[in-house]
């Protein structure tokens, strides 16, 4: 464990704890509307209430769950599609590789926002649509990275040697390629976790995220704008938690890279 990794995990831990606790306990129920309309923060409601009289702390806690779920699922989708696509392109012949590379360039040129708009329009706004859109958008970047990494490994002499000695392609993939590219990939996936959480918040902010009763920090932030003078904390709390989560994921990714490649520690 290095210091960067420790800080990253320290930032992530409270969010994970918040999300975990919300599974078993929240100050009020998410549908409890007895708190009074737009109550300012106080002893009964630490962050105040929303228009319907729901406790904001409760909503923020459940929002942590949404953020983590989105992040993890989107990264899973991205990993599944991206790594498979990248491997295929890496192993493909020159023509197929050119086509795939061009397709990836186009996909990457398509802003994630537009992909999200398309997916949301196709399958109606929901947490699933959000996760799918973000996962797809990120998978293109991951596929390009995987392709480059695979090419790098395949150019090594030992691959040529093991090919010459009759090793089958599947064995080369599992025995040489995947173990070699995994460290770089895992770092990238951790980075993508942060990006996915940010993307989900942005989509929810734009009104393209999961609708109620799902709860997202992005939408809480949008709604906080209406109460910013009575309870600025409702604007600050979800934003800070979001920043902690993303910074935590980023630092953990950096820490992983340092751990995987001790040489970096000497020069940087």
């Amino acid at each position: 464990m290095n210091r960067t990794l420790v800080i990253g995990c320290a930032l992530l831990a409270p969010i994970v704890a918040l999300a975990a606790v919300s599974l078993a306990w929240t100050p009020y129920g998410p549908a409890d509307t007895t708190g009074g309309r737009l109550t300012p923060p106080g002893a009964a409601h630490l962050l105040g209430t929303d228009r319907l009289g729901r406790d904001l702390l409760t909503l923020v806690m459940i929002g942590a769950r949404t953020a983590l779920t989105t992040g993890v699922l989107a990264v899973a989708i991205s990993a599944l599609i991206g790594v498979a696509g990248g491997l295929a392109a890496g192993f493909a012949g020159r023509l197929a590789d050119d086509v795939l590379a061009a397709a990836l360039d186009i996909l990457i040129a398509f802003p994630a926002l537009i992909l999200a708009l398309l997916v949301v329009a196709a399958v109606r706004p929901s947490l699933f649509a959000t996760v799918l859109a973000i996962g797809l958008a990120m998978s293109a970047v991951l596929a390009r990275l995987t392709r480059a990494l695979v090419k790098g490994v395949l150019a090594q002499d030992y691959i040529t040697a093991s090919r010459a000695s009759g090793t089958s392609w599947p064995r080369i993939v599992t025995g040489h390629v995947l173990p070699n590219i995994w460290p770089a990939l895992s770092v990238n996936l951790a980075l993508q976790l942060g990006l996915a959480v940010l993307a989900e918040a942005s989509l929810a902010y734009l009104g393209l995220g999961a609708p109620q009763p799902d709860i997202s920090w992005g939408r809480l932030l949008r709604e906080a704008q209406a109460t910013v003078f009575t309870s600025p904390i409702s604007l600050i709390a979800p934003g800070l938690l979001l920043a902690m989560l993303v910074a935590g994921a980023n630092l953990a990714a950096q820490g992983l890279r340092l751990a995987a490649d001790p040489a970096l520690r000497v020069t940087r």
């Binding site: 360039d105 040129a109 398509f110 942005s202 734009l206 992005g218 910013v228 920043a243 989560l245 940087r268």
Partner: protein, 317 residues
């Protein structure tokens, strides 16, 4: 070099065509159409059918695509289903906001990031800067916008909270005032990303033999850095700038929403809500082109900066 240019351009054109064809089909497979946007709940079934016929969305998709391509070949993006104004006109009006916003934010980000990145690389790690960079990478851009707006527009009343002057750039100062907070918002977040790249590129240069040689020959550090370092450091950073310019654009889209600016982002989101296909196609064709072109230019610039790559262009088939 010419062959390289021709190949890249051809690839760019082919990519755009494929992208727009895919999008065209996808859009038309989505549920719903513009008829529901144009009609109210009191409309009868005959009106719905008439509107669909008028918009041409009742025809088979290949036929619709052929018509669209035919118009595009004459640089005609068609007319909006909803406003009935030419799509080109709709987009041009929005570019008045989005292009200055993107470019100014990008420029400001570069201005912040280069000195900050070079300085931390040269003088060793600064905890404050590292923390700020991490923060910049971790906060959502719309949140920064909301915070800046609440402080500078709503509480201090120094700048407008949003909107754009009705006469656009006729009064440049008023227009710039409206863009000041959005530009700052995007630039702050963007610079955090750039600082990291500048930082590591500078470190690579500092480690290099030629810089040490230059210092040994008596050049001062800033002089050596200026003559040899920056250029070498720039080579790997430039293509990243190309990608980041595209990211800035997306950031601008979200920030436009925070500050109620009439930019491309709002146009696109609204067009999706309303099934206004010609507008969606137009905006996407333009933005995809812009992103691909930015990547292309960055690539070109990088080759100009790095003679080794230039040789490889000449040698490439």
């Amino acid at each position: 070099m010419l062959a390289y240019l021709a190949r890249r351009t051809l690839l760019l054109a082919a990519s755009l065509l494929v992208a727009s064809a895919v999008l065209f089909v996808l859009l038309r497979l989505l549920p719903g159409d513009a008829a529901t946007t144009l009609l109210s709940l009191d409309a009868d079934a005959g009106q719905v059918a008439a509107v669909r016929r008028e918009l041409g969305v009742d025809r088979p998709i290949p036929g619709q695509f052929a018509i669209w391509l035919d118009h595009l070949a004459r640089l005609d993006f068609g007319r909006s289903f909803v406003s009935r104004a030419p799509v080109g006109e709709e987009i041009a009006a929005r570019l008045d906001v989005t292009i200055p916003l993107t470019l100014m934010a990008f420029a400001l980000a570069v201005v912040i990031a280069i000195p900050a990145g070079v300085r931390t690389a040269a003088r060793g790690r600064s905890w404050v800067l590292a923390a700020l960079t991490q923060l910049g990478l971790a906060v959502p851009v719309f949140w920064v916008g909301m915070l800046l707006m609440n402080v500078f527009a709503l509480r201090l009343r120094w700048l407008p909270a949003g909107g754009f002057p009705p006469d656009g750039w006729a009064d440049p100062m008023a227009a710039l005032a409206c863009l000041a907070l959005p530009v700052l918002t995007v630039a702050l977040v963007m610079s955090a990303v750039l600082v990291r790249y500048v930082h590591s590129a500078t470190l690579d240069v500092l480690d290099s033999g030629y810089l040490r040689t230059a210092r040994a020959l008596g050049a001062s550090f800033p002089a050596a850095m200026w003559r040899h370092g920056l250029r070498n450091a720039a080579a790997p950073v430039v293509p990243i700038l190309g990608i980041e310019l595209a990211t800035t654009f997306v950031g601008a889209v979200v920030v436009e929403d925070v500050f109620a600016l009439p930019g491309l982002g709002g146009l696109l989101v609204r067009a999706f809500e309303r099934h206004d296909y010609p507008v969606i196609q137009g905006v996407l064709a333009l933005s995809t082109f812009a992103v691909l072109a930015a990547g292309f230019l960055a690539d070109l610039l990088q080759r100009l900066l790095d003679p080794r790559l230039r040789r490889s262009i000449a040698g490439s088939p």
